[in-house]
């Protein structure tokens, strides 16, 4: 499929909840970037990625403007899903489509005019790398667990929607293998923007946008200065992961877990 290559997405400032202008000139996101959006609940994190998703033109509550390659994006970027360079995976972990997994993916593949053998199976296989509970092609979308739904929609965004920019709203809260997700997204050269409360995801991102009262408060580029913290977060996450799996498996967790 022919696409205009996305060199960069630029977010221009809007206003905070009390009308004060945001304190940044422009935030630019390029392919391969990882950005996390952090801040207290209600600070405007989801609104920030929604602005990107709809390519705000000073017409959302925040007053922000989003440019693609330095200019207003062409209308088909915004309105035609087959040309839209952005895919948002929402916080919602329920899928409302009244179809089986296979039917759902096949319909999405058809809507994108993709003629690639085996893409449905490959998407299900990739999704199964993100979740511990196996997704079967004959399962109904509405019957999938939160983690299965999230895994499938991320795999779909990578392989079927093939969007160069992915927006993930609290990917961690559905119990999926988040480090594997980040690994796959990075390897695919995607720009990934996480809304997150998770220390590991935040520390794994190259840039961190801090939100407060509906506005961007600051943008942090740790540039290696957080490597110690990242190592510690990985270790703790490994311990929690082991504990979670053992608790799920019905074990009694005694003695030392992990390293």
């Amino acid at each position: 499929m022919d696409r205009t290559p996305i060199r960069e997405i630029t977010i221009l400032p809007g206003r905070g909840r009390h009308g004060e202008p945001e304190g940044f000139d422009a935030i630019t996101i390029r392919p391969g970037d990882t950005v996390s959006i952090v801040g207290p609940t209600g600070s405007g994190k989801s609104a920030f990625i929604n602005d990107i998703e709809v390519f705000a033109q000073n017409d959302t509550a925040t007053g922000r403007t989003v440019l693609v390659n330095g200019a207003y994006p062409p209308e088909e970027f915004v309105r035609d899903p087959a040309h839209k360079p952005v895919a948002l995976i929402t916080q919602n972990t329920r899928c409302f489509a009244d179809l089986t997994v296979e039917e759902f993916l096949a319909m999405h593949v058809r809507s994108r005019r993709i003629e690639e053998d085996g893409i449905v199976d490959r998407t299900i296989n990739l999704a199964n790398e993100f979740t511990g509970e196996e997704i079967r092609s004959c399962a109904r979308m509405t019957a999938l667990s939160g983690g299965q739904t999230r895994s499938l929609l991320v795999a779909d965004a990578v392989l079927v929607a093939a969007a160069p920019v992915l927006l993930l709203d609290e990917v961690e809260n559905a119990g999926i293998f988040k480090e594997r997700v980040i690994e796959v997204l990075r390897a695919g050269g995607k720009a990934v923007i996480f809304v997150t409360h998770d220390p590991l995801i935040s520390l794994l991102s190259a840039r961190r946008i801090v939100m407060r009262d509906g506005a961007v408060e600051k943008v942090i580029e740790p540039d290696g200065r957080e490597n110690d913290a990242l190592r510690e977060a990985r270790r703790l996450d490994g311990i929690l992961h082991c504990m979670r799996e053992r608790i799920r498996a019905g074990d009694l967790v005694t003695g030392r877990v992990g390293v």
Binding site: R79, N92, F96, L99, H108, R110, S111, A157
Partner: protein
């Protein structure tokens, strides 16, 4: 005066869409609003209080609300003109998925919710088939793949339909609907306005008050449980 008729199933977000249209256009247009409903309606009072626009309602009671809408439409246009409106918004009751209340010389807007299930666009085919533009609400609750699958279903019914995706509470994406409304033509001859498609028929004896159940007790257009063939194919 422009005329826009907003249809869609109950709780699809019709009034939220209307509210965004009024909010965005009321500095440049004088807008009048009519709500058609069955038993009770409150939207007229809410919108009049919120925006200070002329607003009223009609309740159809024992009549099909879409038939009621057709009956009162000519009066409503005269009322809108008396009020000096540049834009008359008419919102349907949304009771019946067979209704398709759009007219000539007016814009047909269908509102449907992204969380209403994959088969819903097929179930409300007549409402989609004759509309000019579909507004899909609650897209903030679904991920990209679901949006695209839902859109594909809408296109199965009406491949030419213009589709706007919105979170109608926030107003995202509404700019495309506003542009279509602003670009729509004014009414040229209200007496020449007709429905775009045949309405659902109301010519059986239930329509005139017989309450017996079972088709044997009725005459006119009757339906049996077996072999009822009424597949709607659009116009």
């Amino acid at each position: 005066m422009k005329l826009a008729i907003v249809a869609g199933p109950p709780s699809a977000g019709k009034t939220a869409v209307v509210r965004q249209v009024i909010r965005s256009l009321s500095d440049r247009y004088r807008i009048a609003y009519l709500k058609i409903d069955v038993v009770r309606a409150f939207e007229d009072e809410e919108l009049a209080a919120e925006f200070g626009i002329p607003a009223r309602k009609v309740c159809s009671g024992d009549l099909c609300p879409d038939h009621a809408g057709v009956m009162v439409m000519r009066d409503a246009i005269a009322w809108g003109e008396e009020e000096g409106a540049d834009l008359l918004l008419v919102e349907s009751a949304g009771l019946c998925l067979r209704c398709s209340p759009y007219t000539t010389q007016g814009l047909g807007i269908v509102v449907l919710s992204a969380v209403s299930g994959t088969n819903t666009p097929l179930k409300m085919a007549p409402m989609l088939a004759l509309a000019d533009i579909a507004v899909v609400t609650r897209v903030d609750l679904v991920s990209q793949a679901e949006k695209e699958v839902f859109r594909e279903r809408v296109r199965e019914v009406n491949p030419a339909l213009d589709i706007v995706e919105t979170n109608a509470v926030q107003g995202t994406g509404m700019r495309y609907l506003l542009r279509v409304i602003e670009d729509s033509s004014d009414i040229t001859d209200p007496d020449a306005i007709v429905l775009r498609g045949a309405p659902p028929l109301g010519v059986c004896t239930i329509c005139v008050g017989k309450t017996e159940i079972g088709w044997r007790n009725h005459f006119g257009v009757v339906r049996k449980l077996e072999g009822a063939d009424y597949l709607y194919r659009g116009e």
